[in-house]
Point group: C2
Chain length 434, copies 2
């Protein structure tokens, strides 16, 4: 269908002024008929997060203590928005209802979900739109798995021709009790609604003008990506980029519904479109991502490849010491593993002893302070010059690569560097691909 | 100890003229006291291989047929050498003994072993050296495993101060029956003797002036390596270089006894020393090796890394279709496997169907005509410029790399190319590292 699902994040509904912006956005395109909202976000660093305040209320209520102070803080946020927007809503009644719920043993999930619930209620009143409670459409099974029936129910509930507002972040369990998402929050709700409706597009409105080509804490002034594919996002995300949670991508990925990341404060900016395909001529590389906090285990053993059980022995030793490996790379008579540095700090010496004793390697290195970096782009495999340029620039800047790999994925090249050189390497790669 | 074990290959004992050369070599250094010999090799392409003739004799004898013709061919070779060298040996008696053995049901192993046996007998007579039968010193258990007692027995038997000649290629089993090596031949005997004696050096005399830095069938005029380490040899060998069989390296590797590959026809040439360490300043890269005949399976699956059982499912499918994977490289949501091309030719289409059906990948490539190339060198990890130069040259010559990897082994960089570009890639890399 031709409609658009819009999800507005916390900053987009933080106050009346922001809500007027999203109203303008919604009114400017009649296809924007399904609005998913987060709870109002912090307006400044002084603000406490509404969800946290609600958890506090629930916890105090459960202990039989007064929750008046945090409750007032929550209530005032909504009352102020309501007043400034002159919604004429029943906000006082909804707050009283919440108070009754807290007094009669509301669960933490129910309490927390009210942040989104009240926000959606208010917005629906303001927009004269229909409010649809997520608890009635989204059912979560164990592990936050969305029950298939949710999609049918959502489509039925949203079948009218009007404008709908739906709270993000929660659904209900098989007993009808409110259940919040353990991760990914309202972004997931938006994706589920988009999938249920087979929407034309899933607009995800935030406070940035799209996803950036590199981490702005590392790279000076990285530009947003105009377009990026689902799998590029997935690789960037795995390698440390802060992007949508993958569970917020999977539902729309299945139907190849594009996700459009946009900025509520700058709706004229093009934002970033996440979709199944993109024009790689314009920009072969989507971006660069990386993370430090890794350790490395490297061992050599003559004729290792002739002993197939050696591999399982290595992995068993790691498992029995609670060390997870993230990457496993076998050479001919050698093995390189990347593991969480934290685990090495605790167990590195012990592990060194056990490996030396049980596996008798010819050479063993256990090192912390490593970082991994990925250059990700659908155009990478057809542009060998890019990898070459990246390697040249890294070499010119004396960045030593402990691992170079390209080809295990067609769309990324991987580099392992010392943590001390991590930021410089990311900046260098970013400049090389720009 | 300070002595040298010398192994002379088939070409070094092929005729009297060659044996005079090895005599000069042996006499020129009094430390050369342990001489291991192969059977006389072919003098020209017309010659039949002595071992093959002996197998034919045994086979005919076992069928009750006349083996006179091949037997004469064998006998004449030894008689001619004996005559030209004027050894004064009992060669006619030894040949008669072999005839009796064939007539009384000699095993194929016994018959085949007589090539080396008679050669060692003759040489011992010529050099006035002591002949020691390998059957009395080397005991082979199942799978050609050398019984530990062999080393003690060898050391005892060779404890004198004289010159010893020992036939290569065989030992005896636990019942005292002759047993030939299934692979690696006389090179292994030399290595076992060197280990038993903890020799100063294991000289392996052949018809080439050392191991070459690249395959001479691919590269124009590759130079010999002056020095190479055991692990470099192992990686080059695994990647397709024709070098010593690893079982001929392992015994001396354990005691770090250097192997010196030398040319009987050009004893003044420095040859190649294989040892535990070498000076990488002189030559950071040992050589380049590669092989074609590989196929590739590449698949992508969104969120693959989140499903740990996917890996075992892929490998189970391959195993159940009799496809062996040689290299396994996991990306984030992708997997690259290198497999024998032959197996893909037979089962590629079937496999494509099964993988598509059972694993539902987003993308699947099954390709033949791939080749893998390794640049191997102890100096590689400290010389990032070398990899860069190799990549630049490959790019200049339009060689497309399906996989680049450096770091899973510290001493090699791996490249996967299309088979059509294999020779050009090897030549290019050889020129780049030279």
């Amino acid at each position: 269908m031709d409609d658009i699902v819009c999800k507005f994040g916390g900053s987009s509904v933080a106050e009346a002024r922001q809500i007027r912006k999203i109203e303008a956005i919604i009114r400017s395109d009649p296809r924007r008929r399904y609005i998913v909202v987060s709870a109002p976000g912090k307006r400044s660093s002084q603000d406490e997060k509404i969800t946290d305040l609600l958890y506090t209320c629930q916890s105090l209520a459960a202990q039989g203590k007064s929750y008046e102070q945090p409750f007032q803080a929550v209530g005032n946020r909504y009352l102020q928005i309501d007043r400034e927007l002159e919604t004429g809503s029943e906000i006082r009644g909804w707050l009283e209802e919440l108070r009754r719920q807290l007094d009669s043993g509301a669960s933490a999930d129910l309490a927390a979900s009210r942040g989104e619930y009240l926000c959606a209620r208010l917005l629906a009143a303001h927009l004269k739109a229909e409010f649809v409670d997520s608890a009635e459409i989204i059912q979560l099974d164990r592990n936050d798995t969305v029950a298939e029936s949710s999609y049918r129910r959502t489509a039925e509930k949203l079948a009218g021709s009007g404008l709908y507002v739906i709270p993000g972040f929660y659904g209900s369990d098989s007993h009808g009790q409110i259940k919040t998402f353990s991760r990914g929050g309202s972004d997931i709700t938006g994706a589920l609604v988009a999938k249920a409706l087979n929407a034309r597009e899933y607009e995800n409105w935030t406070d940035v003008s799209g996803l950036l080509r590199a981490d702005p804490r590392i790279v000076r002034d990285p530009q947003p990506m105009a377009a990026v594919t689902y799998r590029e996002i997935r690789e960037l995300s795995y390698m440390g980029a802060k992007v949508l949670h993958e569970e917020a991508i999977l539902p729309v990925y299945e139907l190849k519904i594009p996700i459009h990341i946009r900025n509520t404060d700058r709706p004229e900016d093009p934002g970033t479109v996440i979709s199944a395909e993109r024009n790689v001529q314009v920009q072969p590389i989507a971006g660069v991502a990386g993370r430090s906090g890794l350790g490395l285990i490297y061992l050599e053993k003559f004729l290792l490849r002739k002993h197939p059980r050696y591999r399982s022995k290595v992995l068993e030793i790691l498992a029995s010491h609670g060390v997870d490996w993230e990457w496993e790379r076998w050479g001919i008579d050698s093995l390189l593993l990347l593991v969480p540095e934290k685990q090495l700090e605790e167990k590195g010496e012990l592990l060194r002893g056990v490996i030396a004793e049980e596996l008798d390697p010819d050479h063993l290195e256990i090192l912390g302070n490593m970082a991994v970096i990925a250059v990700v782009g659908e155009g990478l495999s057809n542009r060998p010059d890019i990898t070459l340029t990246v390697l040249q620039r890294l070499s010119q800047r004396d960045i030593r690569l402990r691992l170079i790999e390209q080809g295990s994925s067609k769309i990324s090249a991987l580099f392992v560097v010392q943590a001390e050189q991590f930021h410089r390497a990311v900046q260098t790669i970013h400049d090389a691909i720009d």
